[in-house]
């Protein structure tokens, strides 16, 4: 028996969007590049930098090649959907707001148990870390709650709260189903119908068929592009029109390629730290450009012109 009146997957998303829109958030659409988490989208990674307030919420399909299970595992997915909320600065009643958002999707908190368990977050690749909790609903982790402290190697001017809801888990919980594939996306269509082929085929590609040499080549191409742009910025006259965001997209490409190579077993343990360092270098490099371009922060040495 479902614990609460059934809510469809898409209806849950509508209600979260509506709730956060009513609480002052821009509702963005998913970023149109592959990312491992909603945190990596420019809407989070770059917008949390600097002194301007920013409130935004969006669904973000998040790809983790190594988590793929050929569509066989009821709880693990290559690509799962996150609902990401950034509130910058954090309002004092943030936790109360968050709890109201749960009520908004039909969870009667007087009949459930909510706990906040310590869970800090750190991303060496992004030069970022934060402090927070995993939120447990009747023993199920439904949300990551993080107070960002540092991003791209910068101490943050305003401390944002990042809420990341795991949409599949939350819906499975509300619908009382044991497998994500049994989730009702909308009446008549299941999560299986919509996504199973994607999970199966992506697992086959990621684990069996992705060409390692090509992935490495692509990694190097995108890394090169990112670095070329980072190096070009100091000497570029009209800073305001410099393509910092496109440079960041090159970083995202690298990050995803790294994950693919990792899932493919192509990165030896000794190489791993080195490759993470390469991604970090360009991620932090772009964050510096953004801080300089948008917020006038930091000095950038003009790269020596090499003939």
């Amino acid at each position: 028996m479902p614990p609460t009146p059934t809510i469809s997957y898409q209806d849950l998303i509508f209600r979260l969007k509506r709730f956060w829109a009513e609480n002052g958030c821009i509702i963005q659409e998913p970023y149109d590049l592959e990312v491992g988490a909603g945190t990596m989208c420019p809407e989070t990674f770059l917008r949390v930098l600097g002194p301007q307030p920013y409130n935004v919420a969006y669904v973000q399909p998040s790809r983790r090649p190594a988590d793929g299970r050929y569509g066989d595992n009821p709880n693990r997915l290559y690509k799962h959907m996150q609902f990401q909320v950034i509130l910058k600065p954090t309002p004092a009643n943030i936790i109360e707001l968050y709890l109201q958002s749960l009520e908004a999707i039909g969870i009667d908190l007087s009949k459930h148990d909510i706990k906040f368990e310590e869970d800090n977050w750190e991303s060496p690749t992004l030069g970022a870390w934060g402090i927070g909790w995993q939120v447990m609903l009747d023993g199920l982790e439904i949300t990551q709650f993080t107070y960002f402290q540092q991003c791209g190697g910068f101490d943050l001017d305003l401390i944002p709260a990042e809420l990341t809801y795991g949409l599949e888990r939350l819906t499975a919980f509300l619908q009382g189903v044991e497998s994500v594939y049994d989730i009702e996306w909308t009446p008549g269509f299941s999560y299986h119908t919509v996504r199973h082929a994607d999970e199966l085929q992506s697992s086959v590609f990621n684990f069996e068929m992705a060409d390692i040499d090509s992935l490495w080549k692509l990694f190097e191409i995108h890394e090169g592009e990112a670095q070329r742009l980072i190096d070009a910025y100091p000497g570029y006259a009209e800073k305001g029109r410099f393509p910092v965001l496109p440079a960041y997209e090159q970083v995202l490409k690298c990050s995803n390629l790294f994950n693919l190579l990792d899932a493919r077993g192509a990165i030896s343990v000794t190489e791993r730290v080195g490759v993470i360092g390469r991604v970090r270098k360009i991620a932090v490099g772009v964050a510096k450009l953004w801080m300089h371009q948008q917020h006038g922060v930091g000095e950038l040495a003009v790269a020596e012109v090499v003939a």
Partner: protein
């Protein structure tokens, strides 16, 4: 006296940091009162995840006023021709008074201007208002955060409200825009915000709003509630202090509920089921009357009731998914046996500079076979256990439940038909994890664990990863402590293993490191006196050092013989002998009987020759008490020697002969324990 209440209202604080924070807050508040000369009654500290609370039933309302005589310039400099000089005016100004209020004081150096300065005692409320922001923010947490922006205050989690009452008055202060007041907040769902409190109503108001302030009360509510639920089903709750402590500090209103899972999951190993319940879900496991694991659990909610059973069914569903995961991993893992996984260890890093786990396992195998040579274990079994010991690192189950490494390997080995010796050696290889933990129960297991740990130690020392101060990233101290514990408490045959050749002989930093760990173990865990431990350890060579069980026998014997009347004097004499030999820079020689001219030295030589023979026999038979008693019995002869014989005889031959006698006595009889190390009264 005025009652005081401070409540720091926050977002949820990590449970494990709370007791330490309270202790720190208490000691700093006490210091604050003492520094300000404020008498007070005992402090009481309480906490839930959302509040740190400090109360005191009575603090002195204000400081006592104090008077102090301040001396100024000499009168001769303060007045010229009866007129005050600028120096006199300056002093009066500095004291904030006029010339008429100054007095003259006669001192040994002459007459001086002086002023009786009176410091009015400040009101306690004023002192606290000034000091509380720093007191609150100075509370130590292992990891703190900012919430109000760059460069603002740091605390463990955002501070959302502050209650500070001294008597009926609010002690006014503010932290990052949050002003102190007299309103608190109840439980997030069971209570209300904005609750006005007084000293008398505080705890009851919280209780009425779903918050049990006392940790002891929450603890009792959990243990009693859990025991009652279990008893109603004929079950008992597995004791788990650590989990209980976590639950006490992760809840404001703890309420246990009983859940169930399908019997079919009981086919999974109990270790896996319990790990999922305890560590991953924070549930208590339950046992049936016959001791077997029951298909039930107790979860502790942070709310008062589960009216529709939704919390129970939710938790059951989560547990089911976890168990399904575990079963899925178990099944997937069986597709490749441990033996098939040995080569895959090449892809698992042991340490960046020390290579991978395949190399590690091969070294452990080689090392284990070498050190175990005298033990008569089957080298084939040693090799098998060592090579398979790390293979579970490549399994899905260990990737998911890292705390089960070793245990999973052991379970898989047994399931895959490895011998019981091999399975057990793998299962227990990481024991002991602490000094309170048990050591591996079988000799093979002990050998594998010793080989693994000594390899890690030797290799880390080789690349300079040597623990310094509090920095010990590879937990080498714990690792070495485990070696010592196994040697001391394991199979008696371990005394003969060749660990010394491989480890202690290896180089001096590791040798010293081990010696220190042994000393630590004998002192802290076997509670032998410092000087006794030194007396025995100083005499133990590399090979003997491994035989900790024998060292302990020597120490027990030393402890016994120390009670005899002869012991202290003979120990003092050994110290004297050591000094004489050192001053003479004497390296040893052969005693010539004809050159023993005095009666007393002949007597000593005779007694020594007899005792030496006895001691050799007793030592060989392991009778350390007998041997040490025999040595102590030399006391009259030694005393007689020092009373009647002058070592520094004018005849050089006689002098050297006497030194030879003392040297031989010293070296021959110090093999069990170096008596000169004993601290005598």
């Amino acid at each position: 006296m005025l009652p005081f209440l401070l409540e720091i209202g926050t977002e949820e604080i990590p449970d494990w940091m709370i007791p330490g924070a309270l202790e720190h807050l208490e000691s700093r508040f006490r210091e604050l009162l003492e520094k300000n000369r404020l008498a007070h009654e005992p402090l009481q500290l309480d906490a839930t995840p959302r509040r740190l609370v400090l109360r005191c039933p009575g603090i002195q309302p204000a400081q006592e006023s104090a008077e102090a005589l301040v001396t100024g310039p000499p009168v001769t400099a303060a007045y010229k021709n009866g007129e005050p000089t600028p120096a006199a005016h300056a002093f009066a100004k500095k004291m904030g008074t006029d010339l008429a209020s100054l007095r003259r004081e006669q001192t040994p150096k002459g007459e001086y201007l002086a002023y009786l300065q009176r410091t009015e005692g400040r009101a306690t409320g004023e002192i606290l208002a000034e000091a509380l922001p720093e007191l609150v923010l100075g509370t130590y947490f292992p990891k703190a955060m900012m919430w109000a922006g760059k460069g603002t205050s740091r605390f463990i989690r955002p501070i959302r409200w502050l209650v500070a009452l001294l008597g009926d008055a609010v002690v006014p202060f503010a932290i990052e825009g949050v002003a102190s007041g007299n309103t608190t907040e109840g439980h997030r769902r069971l209570g209300k915000p904005g609750l006005v409190v007084t000293h008398a109503s505080y705890e009851q108001t919280l209780r009425d709003n779903g918050v049990l302030l006392s940790a002891a009360e929450r603890r009792a509510r959990i243990t009693e509630g859990a025991a009652a639920l279990a008893a109603a089903h004929g079950l008992s709750v597995a004791t788990d202090e650590r989990l209980l402590e976590t639950l006490v500090y992760i809840t404001e209103c703890p309420t246990p509920i009983l859940g169930a899972f399908a019997e079919e999951y009981l086919t999974l190993p109990e270790e896996v089921l319990v790990t999922v319940m305890r560590y991953h879900q924070k549930y208590f496991a339950l046992h049936r009357a016959d001791g077997s694991l029951a298909p039930n659990f107790i979860a502790v909610m942070n709310t008062s009731a589960d009216p529709d059973g939704l919390v129970r069914s939710g938790n059951e569903r989560v547990l089911r998914a976890r168990f399904n995961d575990a079963r899925f991993f178990w099944d997937v893992d069986q597709k490749r046996t441990l033996a098939d996984r040995v080569d895959s260890l090449a892809a698992v890093t042991f340490q960046a500079k020390l290579g991978n786990y395949l190399e590690k396992a091969q070294r452990v195998a080689k090392r284990a076979k070498f050190i175990a040579q005298p033990l008569g274990l089957d080298p084939g079994l040693i090799e098998r256990a060592a090579l398979l010991s790390k293979c579970d690192l490549t399994t899905e189950l260990v990737k998911e439940f890292t705390e089960l490494q070793g245990v999973v390997g052991g379970l898989y080995a047994e399931y895959q038909g490895e011998s019981i010796e091999v399975s057990q050696a793998i299962y227990y290889q990481y024991r002991p994890v602490s000094m309170e933990d048990e050591i591996p129960p079988t000799l093979l297991g002990q050998v594998i664990s010793l080989a693994d740990r000594s390899d890690t130690l030797a290799k880390c020392f080789e690349i300079g990863l040597i623990p310094k101060g509090s920095s010990d990233p590879f937990a080498l101290r714990r690792s070495a402590q485990g070696v010592v514990k196994i040697l001391a408490e394991g199979d008696a045959a371990l005394g003969g293993i060749r660990l010394g050749d491989m480890c202690f002989g290896w180089g001096s930093p590791l040798f010293d490191f081990f010696r220190e760990r042994i000393r630590h173990y004998l002192r802290e865990h076997r509670v032998f006196a410092y000087d006794e431990v030194s007396a025995v350890l100083n005499q133990a060579g590399n090979a003997e050092l491994v035989n900790i069980q024998e060292l302990i026998q020597r120490l027990s014997a030393l402890q016994d013989v120390r009670k005899s009347d002869d012991f202290e004097p003979i120990a003092a004499s050994f110290k004297r002998i050591k000094n004489i030999l050192r001053q003479a820079e004497f390296a040893g020689g052969v005693v010539s009987e004809p050159l023993l001219v005095e009666e007393a030295e002949r007597a000593l030589y005779g007694a020594f020759t007899k005792v030496r023979a006895d001691v050799h026999l007793q030592r060989a038979a392991g009778d350390y008490s007998g041997a040490l008693e025999a040595i102590a019995s030399l006391r009259p002869a030694v005393d007689g020697f020092f009373d009647q014989v002058l070592v520094n005889a004018s005849d050089e031959q006689v002098r050297r002969n006497r030194l030879s006698l003392l040297h031989e006595l010293m070296t021959e009889l110090s093999a069990i324990a170096d008596f000169s190390e004993i601290v005598t009264k």
